[in-house]
Subunit: 408 residues, 2 copies
């Protein structure tokens, strides 16, 4: 039993999935802004959504749809450029209308279609353009166009995000494919994090949901940038079973969950790497915590601290900021037991802090590590056995420029 | 009974207080970096300290000192340039040594002296220079040099911060004076927030502590910039009673607390205005919350959101970011009831959002308000009667530049 990542793979790699795209004219750039992801067979489906209390109309609608149908889903329709959030009842009706138009084009029921929107808040969708776009996309559905789908859901992303994993089981091979769009460096109101995942494995909806939850908690929920969640963050998965291989039990179920986690982690890291103004990819590794939850809170506190992130940007191994960010997290620890290491892929690990006081290290080496495009900081709290890694980027002047000038 | 703010007042305005300063040579700039604040009479004393678990040696020492003595305090010795934090036992011994040297110079007991340090973390104090500085400062103590004290505790501050309030009571007049240093835009490891407050009112230590707690919660704890707390944030107050006027009971006690709050608020706002890279002073006013605590959490969530703060910087009235920041705070509210107004001092209040959907407002006026040096955003949650205001600044490219290049 092996799991193999395919960096060129996408949502149309699993059997029976097609993608169509269109240019509705919502994006000022004139780039494609509508995607239809379709399965030729009914799918088990599951979704995970933003924890923000203010949610876009598509999130409200998808939650309802998944209440009535998790067993014969057929499609996802997505637009970029307008988020359909803070748009009231009018917006909810527009989301329902998207669902209706897509279901007619695909000759299925409305509750077999999930809806995603990403873009600016507080603006109504131009439904005539959207309707035309959905009909166009349904006319160019293809088994080879998953990457085009990844392009059609981009907003401030600079590149499309996709990958696939292949699981070789004793009973045969199943594939999971995914596309995603970025959340910018933080989760700006335009740049919602969206992911669509497909698989030809046979997985009952309840097991699919459980696998998705595990995978999301170990991947998308660990790209902690500033703690913000957008109104529309969504991860959707559809399993159409066309491979004829079951991943419902035992080792195959475990392998499926592991492979889904692998795929989700890859997509999540692509989102961080393409974050607004991000020049560095930093892994924050916290060990010696009393629980995984505590480790996560400490890691987030470090990964979201503007002072830590500007130090990353400036290649300044300013370890005081890291310890202080951990200290404000609210997780109790004995600061006199803390240890801190930094390193890059060059096997150049350097200990900066032992028992809360600075080690006698070479500042030049520390600066060199922080000047690498990828590096890690490893904080041990000396207060338990639990650990976690989260992924983040640096905070640059470019980020401020992008987000100050965004709507103007 | 009246309370009058004096913007030119300082810690030496109350009777019986003196300040001396010195240049130890810790700051690269060659500016004064040591202050001695002395009372000619014994003082009731109280302190409020950082909630960060990682604390500087002076915080540890002051907590101990205030356990054994809140009734006959005599002095505060403070240095800038080095924070004496993350310095282990050696650092704690240095803080004790500062206390000892100051007490010898002032001919009092060590536990009659409080100690403050602000600056870089993880570096030991040069005790020979510090000792010389304390002796110099004790030789130039003056009743007119409070402003010099404010200068000697500056780090990244661009101006000294001080003010005083006068309370006219039926029994006579008492004065409260204060100096503070800034926390930068956030609370960087160098730029700890410190404040020293003096008064000639007669106030028993327990009442002094209670008044200080009220005042700090309504002032310094409301300059929520990024939720960070430094290792050394401290507010100290000394009351020497030399006015002969008691503020221990009834209306005079209430007036004292009100005046102390007024002084603290003024100092806190000075800190925000002088924040690193801050060009705009923004009041975030949250109403209609189920409790003051809930209102505070929502206001902090808005005031610390990088997306909201970059929108302030870009004069972009991007209200979606404000609603979304409130939504992620964890405080439950019905987003369909939210209302949002913005305005400046020009009586130009503009409603942007009603029942979670955009009003038909003039975008040019909204942009004009956000382009002002001071403005407010007012969010009503429609879920209760509680409210709060917090003060914050914008997030500019300059901030990132300052904090990326800080140690290099």
């Amino acid at each position: 039993m092996t799991i193999k990542l395919n960096a060129d793979g996408t949502v149309t790699d699993p059997q029976g999935f097609q993608v169509g795209t269109a240019t509705c004219g919502i994006k000022a750039s004139g780039n494609p802004d509508l995607m239809l992801l379709h399965s030729t067979e009914n799918c088990a489906a599951a979704g995970m959504f933003t924890t923000n209390q203010v949610v876009g109309a598509p999130v409200t609608l998808n939650r309802e749809t998944l209440k009535s149908n998790t067993t014969n889903m057929r499609a996802i329709v997505a637009n970029s450029g307008i988020a359909n959030a803070c748009t009231g009842n009018h917006g909810l009706n527009n989301a329902i209308e998207m669902q209706n138009i897509a279901s007619k084009s695909l000759q299925c029921n409305p509750n077999q279609v999930l809806v995603l929107s990403t873009g600016v808040i507080g603006v109504q969708l131009p439904m005539e353009k959207i309707g035309k776009g959905i009909r166009t996309a349904s006319s160019n559905l293809s088994h080879n166009s998953g990457c085009h789908g990844a392009e059609a859901i981009m907003t401030t992303d600079t590149n499309p995000k996709y990958c696939a994993v292949e699981i070789k089981l004793p009973t045969g091979t199943v594939t999971i494919g995914g596309i995603a769009k970025g959340a910018g460096m933080v989760h700006p109101n335009m740049a919602t994090m969206l992911a669509c995942i497909t698989t030809d494995a046979q997985v009952p909806a309840s097991i699919l949901h459980s696998a998705l939850k595990t995978a999301v908690n170990k991947s998308f929920n660990r790209i902690s940038i500033d703690g913000d969640t957008s109104t529309s963050d969504s991860v959707l998965i559809m399993a159409n079973g066309t491979s004829g291989i079951s991943c419902a039990q035992g080792d195959s179920r475990k392998a499926f969950t592991a492979a889904l986690t692998c795929l989700s982690t890859n997509l999540a890291k692509q989102i961080v790497r393409d974050g607004e103004g991000v020049n560095k990819f930093v892994t924050v590794h916290v060990t010696g915590a009393p629980s995984v939850k505590a480790a996560h809170i400490v890691a987030n506190s470090i990964a979201t601290s503007p002072l830590v992130k500007t130090a990353f940007a400036g290649s300044d191994p300013n370890w005081g900021r890291i310890i202080v960010a951990a200290g404000k997290s609210g997780v109790p620890f004995d600061s006199s037991k803390t240890q801190l290491w930094i390193g890059s892929d060059l096997e150049d690990e350097l200990q900066l802090v032992k028992q809360a006081t600075p080690c006698d290290y070479d500042e030049n080496i520390a600066q060199y590590i922080f000047s690498q495009p990828e590096f890690y900081v490893h904080l041990d709290l000396g207060n338990g056995e639990s650990e976690i890694s989260v992924w983040t980027g640096d905070l640059t002047e470019e980020y401020v420029r992008i987000n100050s000038d965004y709507r103007t």
